[in-house]
Symmetry: C2
Subunit: 418 residues, 2 copies
Amino acid sequence: MDLEQGDRVQIVKNDVVYEGIVRPSNTEHIVLKMDSGYNAGIHPENAEITVVEKKEAEEKTRFFKPESASTKQKSDLPKVSILSTGGTIASKIDYRTGAVTAQFSADDILETIPELSEIAEFTGKVVYNVLSENMKPEYWTELAKTVSKEIENGADGIIIAHGTDTMMYSAAALSFMIDTPVPIVFVGSQRSADRPSSDNAMNAICAATVATSDIAEVTAVMHGTTSDDYCEIHRGTQVRKMHTSRRDAFKSINSDPIGFVDYSNRKIETISDYTKRGTRKLNVREQIEPSCGLVKFTPGTSPDVLSHYIDSGYRGIVLEGTGLGHVSTDWVPEIERAVDSGIPVVVASQCLNGRVCDRVYDTGRDMLKAGAIEAEDMLPEVAHVKLMWVLGQTDDFDTAIEMLKSNISHEMTSRSLC
Amino acid sequence: MDLEQGDRVQIVKNDVVYEGIVRPSNTEHIVLKMDSGYNAGIHPENAEITVVEKKEAEEKTRFFKPESASTKQKSDLPKVSILSTGGTIASKIDYRTGAVTAQFSADDILETIPELSEIAEFTGKVVYNVLSENMKPEYWTELAKTVSKEIENGADGIIIAHGTDTMMYSAAALSFMIDTPVPIVFVGSQRSADRPSSDNAMNAICAATVATSDIAEVTAVMHGTTSDDYCEIHRGTQVRKMHTSRRDAFKSINSDPIGFVDYSNRKIETISDYTKRGTRKLNVREQIEPSCGLVKFTPGTSPDVLSHYIDSGYRGIVLEGTGLGHVSTDWVPEIERAVDSGIPVVVASQCLNGRVCDRVYDTGRDMLKAGAIEAEDMLPEVAHVKLMWVLGQTDDFDTAIEMLKSNISHEMTSRSLC
């Protein structure tokens, strides 16, 4: 069937009915923008496809290619590398058109968001091509290497287009892996909603603004509100996706964001300290140990899940406890067994906000006595990434414990008595 | 050693040094209010105890017993049962004095918070005596039975004093277990901070106000802000502890609270619909199946943790996925194996806010195809409690699935297309 961008089609596959407008696709999948605002990618195999309405003439303008946007690039602009990490729908910037591009060049981007050419000179590279939820720790190592190479080759800033599902994990990983002299900016899009143009383009433009700024940190730049007013600049170790679908899903936890990008004038306002461009030398420590478990404690959960991790040869465990960092008393012997086996156990809190303090109550003190380490005010997910990274850096238990207790990349704020 | 309430003492035990003011204790533990505002309970065995300063004369007044507060009770006031569920420090209301009482009577409470006697006529009962983090699903069954008995015996309202760590789990459990004709109010205290009087007394007074109101729901009543201005009335299935230590840690998620209690005048303002007193007949379905696992997905986590739950004879699994409710594609075969083995798999989101929607992306569709059920906008923790409760109600897989997909007690708001 000859589908054109802009056609409204109905696709029935595996008893599921999809209806929406055909969007550009560089893969075999047909990409539909559905009325809900979401995109869906459907492989045409065994699918019944009906054209409901051919595209209207005016629809064509949406996909109109601006006149040689790339020629507008000025060579005196800063150089920014855009690295793509995902090849499917959510894993990349949809840009103004809601388009999905599995492979993309700087030209592709400038065509869809011509404003970018005023900010920097871009080069594009596809690092890998996975669904955000299929991200693996090993890919962070690959990504860190690529970022490092781009910086060595003269990039003044890095933009990493990333699916939003696991962006916080990847941003934390790169925060631990790279001491960077230039900005490294994660950006994604939550959804196109009814206004397909807004979310993606604004995030990309704000990300480019940060990538050319003096904020030499690993950050995530995403919508600050549900309006198109500003983006927030979150630190890679302090950011969390706090909503399944809202555009302002990303929030800094236990800290303010580094600052904001005003979309109307592309001005950055900072409200937190940050490392300035050129202050640090590039230093990459990209090794990681993926065999680490995160266990969320809930009432009545048997400690046998801990036994599973210990006996399966895992090298580290993060416990996501209740309140100040508690698990049931009957978990304590397994915590002790883990630590005695050389497996670090880090305790974070499922409250997300606030600081773990295991010195107040009996259970917490028993956990500390068994060898558990407090994650302080570190997010459980960041504690998990940090543990993987620390165990990738050292095989020595005591060194690992010391690194886990130290602030490496703003993942924990300075210890206060609790 | 002869310690008196109000003495400042230093206790060294297991190389940990505690210093603070001695508080009342009905157990063998010495209870100290530390300068941080926290209480610590320390068993005197093998502890070195030094009195730093004997209590001052004025300190005595703190523990002064108000003149026969209980005699002020008027018999025409509503009858409220206060049920205590925890015997240690955090598990109970500390009241004005910061006191810890392992067994307590209505008189004990009225002595410390005399304002309560203006609100209701109280009876007190200790249901069990565990640390909040040691709460087990079986105890919820016990609690539901006791609550039900109190209502049958004429209680006009129930207050459940509960540790804050797992209050949300217990509140969700009772929401599923009991159709109540009267208010059932969970209350606790986060910490006494520098103003030991405020947190506990205000929460208790607001809880009593709700317990005597027409809000016949299972609720949690806790500080709405860090000031002593009002408490929020959260629905038992929509509340979550969102901070380790702040007094306003409890938040309604994916919904507004039912309303507020103004502390200054004890007036209730409601902003959501609720079931009114006397509308429902008492109905208790207290059975529970504790063998349910909650698995939080993080990048790189092997599906072997799912295999563990399947092969260990667990009866149900909640997956806390990323974003709209995703896990890695390599988890899908184990999801399918679970469902094929008659183990329901419910998918919630670690974003907490927003709605799970597995129909948008390939991975989600594969998960649904494997038999996973979307938790809609239900909190992962509530999904876990619901799963345990549902499997306590029925052994039939299809009935369980149907119940899991239905709104039982406001745990999910009506389905919108995603």
